[in-house]
Every structure is written in structure tokens, then in C-alpha cells.
């Protein structure tokens, strides 16, 4: 039970934002330098699931919750095989933890995963700044303490807008999951899928084949799928021409199709609905969504920096809005009127987060089953 206390805890680290603002703190995780787009997550549980979520590729995450790391890390609480965030910013990052099943401290975990982090930052002031000024690039360093030098490094970082990242985190080889005798065969387009999305489908009896991002429709069809799934993932959906083409082809198959997050944006783009970069996005476990079909509400997990243009959705004759966000009325779910395809902007697998929306997986699997009869 004697756990080492913050081996790097006394070392200074600096966070610099694209607009020149500088925050001093203490080094945590790996000693080094990292860059990315800054964003904040308001969730109070499930930090490890957040850190390993491929949709966070290229991003440096502020945890609004003031203590992170309290229950350590556990090899099973992951959404992919490595940490995907580029850096972590916290008020109190804890290296001493308490959980029977935990195998590592947050410090050890981030160090092993090469994640440069900073703590002791006035995260509330920082979040308020990001909320007001919008998403921007930033740099964290615990080795370069010269502000002019940091500024130089930061200038080299490309903007997230127009950035194609999905193919960098997609699987390189196709693979299968689930019971191969199941008639519920789903072709999964992997743009950086979370493990638990796949698990939610497998748990409901599906047999999956997960394909690399740039797989062509012919190859998907060769699997003889009964349905298609379009995954979540990082980056700007508008930069993904190859994926939009595939999704158009998928819709033409007229088989049950379900998209989540980036998958939702791609389904929109495939129907000539534009997407846009949000001011600072939605990231957390408490976003209120109303299902317009049932009239019921659900608390959802969200993680997105791009959105679907509400005006364009309303104009699209073949698209129906199924879910809206109760805070800002953004589009949370759509379905096609002439095809068995639907999608949501939020994360119904909800790891981490409330399980209110898992019914969508039931809906999808039932849709496929009905289509098989």
C-alpha cells in the first residue's frame, strides 16, 4: 500500500495557448513536450475511458473535475489499445489511488503511455477562457521552459479544421468479433471506434467484421452483411471524401445502418447536409437529449468538436430529426425517411457515462433481425 508520491511533482511545467496565454503548473506523466487542440471534459468519473477514446486523437484534454486518478487505472477500463489524448491538464492529478482491481497509478500509466501532462493549473479559469474564446491549439512542456521557444513550437501545429485523422487510428487489418454463426452480420466502418461500441453490438448477438477506414464498398459487401455500422472517430468529417463516398454506397444497399458521432456526421454529409466546427464542442457525461419520437429524455455521453448544420438538416427532404439537445437545440439524432438508416451525435455505449441511451443498440439489432425475416 505504500505508493510513491508524485515523483515528478516538483518539476515545473508550462501550458501555452495559441492566443499567447500562459499557465504555470507542475509536471505529471511523462517529462517532455506535447501539442494539440485544447478541449475540456466535464465528466466526474471514467477518466481512463476518456483518455483511450480514439475520438480524442490530436487533443489535449482539461479535466474540469478537480481530482483525477483517485481510483488508478485498470487494464480493462479502456476504449482502445492505447491512450489517445495528446496531453492532460488537471487541477489535482493523483498518483496515489484506491481500488482493488486497479493495476497502476495514473502517473505510472501516463508515463508508460508517453503522455505529457500538467497539474496544479487553475483549470476553472482555463475552461472559462476556452469557453469564451473557443477551441485553439496549445502546447504543454516540462522540458522547454522558455516561452519564446514554446511559441515557435506551437506555431508549427496545424489547425484541427480540415484535418483528416480517422485513417490514422483505424484498424489496419479487418478483424472479426462475436459469434460467427449469428445471422446478424454487421460490417463496421472503423474510423477510430470505441471498443465498447463493438461490445454493445456483440452483447446483443451480432457478428461483426471491422474494416479499415478506406475499405471500398465491394469489400464490405463481400462479407455479406445484414447491416452496416459507421463508427465514431477524430478529426474533421468534411475532409473525409473517401468515407462520404463509402457511406453513400452503404445507404444505397438499403440495409439497416447505424452511425455514431463522426458516423452521424458522415451520414449527414452523405445526404448533402453540411457539418461545421463548433466553438468549443460538447464533452462530458451530462448532456440532455430529447427523443422526439418517444417524447422521453436521456442523459448522454458526448465528445464532439464538429456538428451537423441544423438549417441544412431541416431543409433536407429525406431526413427526419429524431433527437435534439435540450441545452442548445443542436441536432443529436437523424433518420432517413426513405432508407433504414439512423444516427446519433452522442455516444449511446456510454463508457464512461449514463446508460440511458443503450436502447439504440437494441433498436439497431432489432431492425436487422426484422429485415432478415
Amino acid at each position: 500500500m505504500t505508493q510513491p508520491h508524485k515523483p515528478t511533482g516538483t518539476q515545473t511545467a508550462i501550458l501555452m495557448l495559441e492566443d499567447g496565454n500562459v499557465f504555470y503548473g507542475k509536471a505529471f506523466g511523462k517529462i517532455g513536450t506535447t501539442t494539440g487542440e485544447i478541449c475540456f471534459n466535464t465528466g466526474m468519473t471514467g477518466y481512463q475511458e476518456v483518455f483511450t477514446d480514439p475520438s480524442y486523437t490530436g487533443q489535449i484534454v482539461i479535466m474540469n473535475n478537480v481530482h483525477t486518478g483517485n481510483y488508478g487505472t485498470y487494464e480493462k477500463d479502456v476504449e482502445s489499445n492505447s491512450v489517445k489524448i495528446k496531453g492532460l491538464i488537471g487541477r489535482n492529478l493523483e498518483d496515489r489511488f484506491s481500488r482493488y482491481t486497479a493495476d497502476k497509478s495514473l502517473q505510472q500509466y501516463l508515463e508508460e503511455q508517453n503522455i505529457v501532462s500538467i497539474e496544479d493549473v487553475d483549470t476553472r479559469a482555463l475552461v472559462t477562457h476556452v469557453r469564451t474564446k473557443g477551441a485553439m491549439n496549445c502546447i504543454i512542456s516540462s522540458e522547454i521552459l522558455d516561452e519564446a521557444k514554446l511559441k515557435e513550437e506551437l506555431a508549427k501545429v496545424p489547425s484541427m479544421e480540415g484535418l483528416e485523422l480517422a485513417s490514422t487510428v483505424s484498424t489496419t487489418e479487418a478483424y472479426n468479433m462475436g459469434d460467427e454463426n449469428s445471422p446478424v452480420r454487421i460490417a463496421v466502418m472503423d474510423f477510430g471506434t470505441k471498443l465498447n461500441i463493438l461490445q454493445c453490438m456483440v452483447d446483443r448477438g451480432a457478428y461483426l467484421k471491422v474494416f479499415p477506414a478506406k475499405t471500398k464498398i465491394e469489400e464490405l459487401k463481400a462479407f455479406n452483411p445484414a447491416g452496416y455500422f459507421i463508427s465514431n472517430g477524430p478529426g474533421d468529417p468534411a475532409s473525409m471524401d473517401y468515407a462520404i463516398e463509402t457511406v453513400k454506397a452503404i445507404i444505397n444497399e438499403k440495409k439497416p445502418t447505424f452511425g455514431i458521432c463522426l458516423g452521424h456526421q458522415l451520414l449527414a454529409l452523405a445526404n448533402d447536409i453540411t457539418t461545421f466546427k463548433m466553438h468549443h464542442g460538447h464533452r462530458g457525461l451530462n448532456h440532455p437529449v430529447k427523443n422526439l419520437v418517444t417524447g422521453l429524455c436521456e442523459i448522454t455521453t458526448q465528445n464532439h468538436g464538429f456538428g451537423v448544420d441544423p438549417e441544412a438538416v431541416r431543409k433536407a427532404a429525406n431526413v427526419e430529426i429524431t433527437h435534439v439537445n435540450l441545452n442548445d437545440e443542436s441536432i443529436e439524432g437523424i433518420r432517413l425517411k426513405d432508407r433504414p438508416a439512423f444516427s446519433v451525435q452522442y455516444h449511446p455505449e456510454s463508457t464512461p457515462g449514463p446508460h440511458d441511451s443503450r436502447y439504440l443498440f437494441d433498436d439497431f439489432i432489432n431492425m436487422i433481425k426484422a429485415s432478415l425475416n
Partner: protein, 548 residues
């Protein structure tokens, strides 16, 4: 669906005299509810036997009755006010619920064409009758501790034999754990059973296996008539199961819960709340969690605004009673606005970017001869709540606010006990346990030994260890040698100026330290309680001070 327009005049039932376990929380909820209904244009009639409350101010309601909380008084009020069409029983604690249930059994509501809003009698029964609750939990697949319901001493003894010692006695239809207690030896059984049966208005107790070393949690929920449910606040007890939540030091948000365990708890809470039948308003659910395997067992559900919902309201900024009153008259959560941001929805779950610590305050010196050990029955007479940007800061602020001469957790008299004595002492929960844990750490006792002695989660003990380490570091200095960085860190950990001066080597004056601090720019900043951890702009937040 908007509000039910057939409700034009509502009777709110207060909680009566301030007693241990039922204090000003219910004045707070009753007042909020009255205001909330009146802003909807509804007439509010109020009954409470306790004039020393805010809710009985003439300003609060259209009519205030200072009458004993009895069925006769209710009948008198209904006679004088035939326009009353509904009664709201969920704001006045257990007293109000029990009274409204009694009136219901006598047909008073029906006779006067008054309907109960917010909750129905069946829900009250299921929640408060330990046997019905147990049956329902088993039915819906939510875990409960092995237990049996007894209505007589003989039955109780028989079940105790079956279940085995140690066990606990838990009376039905009480609050504050009244009449409840541990049975650690055979000799204690008879007296404990008799006390429990006596305390229960229906002469019923639960004889239950004692859960030793389990962690205790409380969830505050809201449900509307469409079955939408949100969790407003999750509160973790620093003290494990066996110390009443009202006597426990509690912390929000939960500090040591993984998402897997928390979502499991959330799912269970929602299932429990939805299984209760007709209910629209605030509700409190308590759970026990086995830290070894994260197994969760339900302890109880209170289908009303509770002691801890007042705390949860202040802790999150979400006005539970105010919204609960609106839900009772037919609104749904998605129709209402977040009262703090005024632009976002009331259907959401608050996110916190600070730590809340609640610390109870006892007055054992005024109750000479009273047993000062803490257990199933609540003994505290009040509580303090503090807000900090870390657990250490919050816990020290709470200690400073107790008005018992404690100067933070860093300094409370000088413990005369030696390490061995301290280890023994902290095995029994008493009011000063957290101070003695700190003394033990000062004396070099290991975190492991303290966790074994107290069953308190080790994460909390690590945090107290940090406070101890800081105190030891400060003790090496005098005003001249005190480094700026150390002082800054101490302030961020919630050390008060007085506390630091007492700890430092030479006698130092608080004024001198304050001047030094100011010169170094180590000064307070003010942060908001805004329900959303800065995600949205807040229109009516409140503030706390901290050091950044």
C-alpha cells in the same frame, strides 16, 4: 406537458420541532417549495408547529397555520379553506409523510376532495416499511443485505439466531436512524430489539446482517411524471457503513468510484425510483458498496426531499426542492430551465469542479452522560459545508468552521495519546475521529494501519497524510525562513493563517503572515458554484474563496 391547471391551492406540511435528524433542512425545502408554487400563481397554505422557521414568516405563504402537526389540525385547516385542492407532503421530512399517510388512512383527504401530489401513499409505504422495501428490491433484482422483519421480541431473537452476530436492528418508519443500532454480542440483543420495536410506530424492525467495511453512498435524484430521472448529486461517505450518513463526514462528488461502479449504482437508483409507483419530485437513495468486488446493495430509499437534498442543492447549485415542487404540479424536467444558467435545461446532471465536504457538529458536552460513540442512530445537531478546489482544502475549511476551537485539521489541541493508543481509539467512530487519525499520522502510524483500524477508504487517508506532511514541513520554518512556494502550497491545501502561525517554529503573528502573503501575491480568488463546471455562463451563481 405543462403544469396541471386544476391545482390552484396547495397545503404544504412542515416538519415540526427541530430534533436531531430533522433540522432546518426541511425549513429550507418547505420555503423553496412555497416560493416555487407561488411563482406559478398557486395559493400556498402552510402548516407547521414550529414558529422558529423561515417558512412560517407571513411573507412565505398566503396563509400560515402554527398548529400541532395532527390530523385534527389538518381537518381544521381544510374546513376553513375549502379551496385547497392538493397537499404536498414531500417537503416536511418523515414527520410530514407520516402525518399525511395517517390522514389518508382516516379518509381526510378524500372527504375534502384533496389529492396528494408529488407522492402517493403506496410509494411512502413501500419506501418506509422495511419489509415491503426488501420484497420490492428482490423483485426488481436490486441487492439487499440478508435480513428478516420482526414484529416481536421473540421473532427478533429467532431471526438473530439465524442471521448471526454482528447484526443491526433497523426500525420501520423512522428517520435519523432512531432506535437503530448494532448488536455485537448476544447480551446486547434483547435491549437493542426492544429499543428498535419501541421506536417504530408500527412496532416493526429489520434484523439485518451487519455490513462491516462497506463504503456508503447517497444519490439525490429527481423524477418527473414522464419517468425522466436525473441524478443531481452523488455523495460519498468518508465514514464507512455503520455510521449514519447524518453523522458521517461526507464528500461530493464521489471521490473513489470508478465509472463502472457508479453507473451500476445509477442504474439501480433509477430502477428503484421507477418501481415506486406514482412519484414526481425529489428522492434520496442510499447504497453500500463492497470495495473488494464493487458489489452494491441498497440501504434505503426516501421518496421525498431529504436532509441531504438540502446539502446537495447547496453543493451543486441545483435547487432540488424548488424544482421538485414544480414536478409535483405536473411539469416535466425538460420543460424547466436550469435556474443558475437560465438558458440551459433543468433536465441534466450537475458537474462539479470543486470538492464539497460536509462535517457534522455534535454537542456531547451538552448531553452529559450520553454515549459518544457513533452508530446507526444519528446524534449530530448540525453540520457545516465547505467548498474547496481539492479535498484537502475543503476538509480543512470544514474543520475551521466547526466552532469547536479546531484550527483546521492541522491543529486541534495536542494529542496526548501515543501511537498505540491512537490506533485503538480510532477503531470506534466518535466525533473526533478525523482529528485523531491526523494525530496518528503525525505520530508516524502508517496509512495501512489506519485503513485497517477504521475501514475508511485509503484515498482519504493519503490526503490527510498530505496535510500532515505539509504541517511537518511548515514546522521547520519561522516567519523569516518560510519559502513563498511552501506558503502558497499550504494555502492551497486549506491551511489558515492562524494555523500556519501556530505550526511554525517561533511564535509568529497572523498579521505579519497576512502582510507577507499579500506582498507575495498569495491572495484569495473567488470561484463560482454554477451547476456546470464552467461549461455555460451562469446568471445567478454563488461564490466561494480559494487559492489558485
Amino acid at each position: 406537458m405543462p403544469k396541471d391547471n386544476s391545482i390552484k391551492s396547495v397545503l404544504i406540511v412542515g416538519s415540526g420541532p427541530i430534533v436531531i435528524g430533522q433540522a432546518c433542512e426541511f425549513d429550507y425545502s418547505g420555503s423553496q417549495a412555497a416560493r416555487s408554487l407561488r411563482e406559478e400563481g398557486i395559493e400556498v397554505i402552510l402548516i407547521n408547529s414550529n414558529p422558529a422557521t423561515i417558512m412560517t414568516d407571513p411573507m412565505m405563504a398566503d396563509r400560515v397555520y402554527l398548529l400541532p402537526l395532527t390530523v385534527e389540525s389538518i381537518e381544521q385547516i381544510l374546513e376553513e379553506n375549502p379551496q385547497i385542492d392538493a397537499v404536498l407532503p414531500t417537503m416536511g421530512g418523515q414527520t410530514a409523510l407520516n402525518l399525511c399517510k395517517e390522514a389518508d388512512e382516516l379518509g381526510v383527504w378524500e372527504k375534502n376532495n384533496v389529492r396528494m401530489i408529488g407522492v402517493d401513499v403506496k410509494a411512502i409505504d413501500t419506501a418506509e416499511d422495511r419489509e415491503k422495501f426488501r420484497q420490492l428490491m428482490i423483485e426488481i433484482g436490486v441487492g439487499v443485505a440478508p435480513s428478516k422483519v420482526a414484529n416481536s421480541l421473540l421473532e427478533g431473537k429467532e431471526f438473530a439466531q439465524e442471521i448471526g452476530i454482528p447484526l443491526v436492528i433497523r426500525p420501520s418508519f423512522t428517520l435519523g436512524g432512531t432506535g437503530g443500532g448494532f448488536v455485537n454480542t448476544k447480551e446486547e440483543l434483547d435491549a437493542a430489539l426492544e429499543r428498535g420495536l419501541q421506536a417504530s410506530p408500527i412496532h416493526e424492525v429489520l434484523v439485518e446482517k451487519a455490513l462491516i467495511g462497506w463504503k456508503e453512498y447517497e444519490l439525490e435524484l429527481l423524477r418527473d411524471k414522464n419517468d425522466n430521472v436525473v441524478i443531481i448529486c452523488t455523495v460519498e461517505n468518508f465514514d464507512p457503513m455503520g455510521v449514519h450518513t447524518g453523522d458521517s463526514i461526507t464528500v461530493a462528488p464521489a471521490m473513489t468510484l470508478s465509472d463502472t461502479a457508479f453507473q451500476n449504482m445509477r442504474n439501480m437508483a433509477i430502477k428503484m425510483m421507477r418501481s415506486l409507483g406514482n412519484f414526481a419530485g425529489g428522492c434520496n437513495v442510499q447504497f453500500a458498496l463492497n470495495p473488494e468486488n464493487e458489489e452494491i446493495i441498497s440501504v434505503e430509499i426516501n421518496p421525498r426531499v431529504s436532509r441531504s437534498s438540502a446539502l446537495a442543492s447547496k453543493a451543486t447549485g441545483y435547487p432540488i426542492a424548488k424544482i421538485a415542487a414544480k414536478l409535483a404540479i405536473g411539469y416535466t424536467l425538460d420543460e424547466l430551465k436550469n435556474q443558475i444558467t437560465q438558458t440551459t435545461s433543468a433536465y441534466f446532471e450537475p458537474a462539479l469542479d470543486y470538492v464539497i465536504v460536509k462535517m457534522p457538529r455534535w454537542n456531547f458536552d451538552k448531553f452529559k452522560g450520553a454515549d459518544d460513540r457513533l452508530g446507526l442512530q444519528m446524534k449530530s445537531v448540525g453540520e457545516v459545508m465547505s467548498i474547496g478546489r481539492s479535498f484537502t482544502e475543503a476538509v480543512q475549511k470544514a474543520c475551521q468552521s466547526l466552532e469547536n476551537n479546531a484550527v483546521g485539521l492541522g491543529y486541534y489541541g495536542q494529542s496526548v495519546k501515543h501511537a498505540e493508543e491512537l490506533i485503538e481509539y480510532i477503531k470506534v467512530p466518535k466525533w473526533d475521529r478525523i482529528f485523531r487519525i491526523k494525530d496518528a499520522l503525525m505520530a508516524g502510524v502508517s496509512v495501512k494501519t489506519i485503513v485497517e483500524a477504521t475501514k475508511i477508504d485509503r484515498w482519504f487517508i493519503y490526503q490527510i497524510q498530505d496535510i500532515v506532511n505539509m504541517e511537518k514541513e511548515l514546522a521547520k520554518h519561522d516567519m523569516q525562513s518560510l519559502p513563498k512556494e511552501l506558503l502558497k502550497e499550504a494555502k492551497r491545501m486549506g491551511f489558515g493563517d492562524e494555523q500556519i502561525c501556530r505550526i511554525m517554529k517561533e511564535d509568529a503573528s497572523e498579521d505579519e503572515l497576512y502582510e507577507k502573503r499579500k506582498a507575495w501575491g498569495i491572495t484569495r480568488v473567488y470561484k463560482m458554484v454554477d451547476t456546470c463546471s464552467a461549461e455555460f455562463e451562469a446568471k445567478t451563481p454563488y461564490f466561494y474563496s480559494t487559492f489558485e
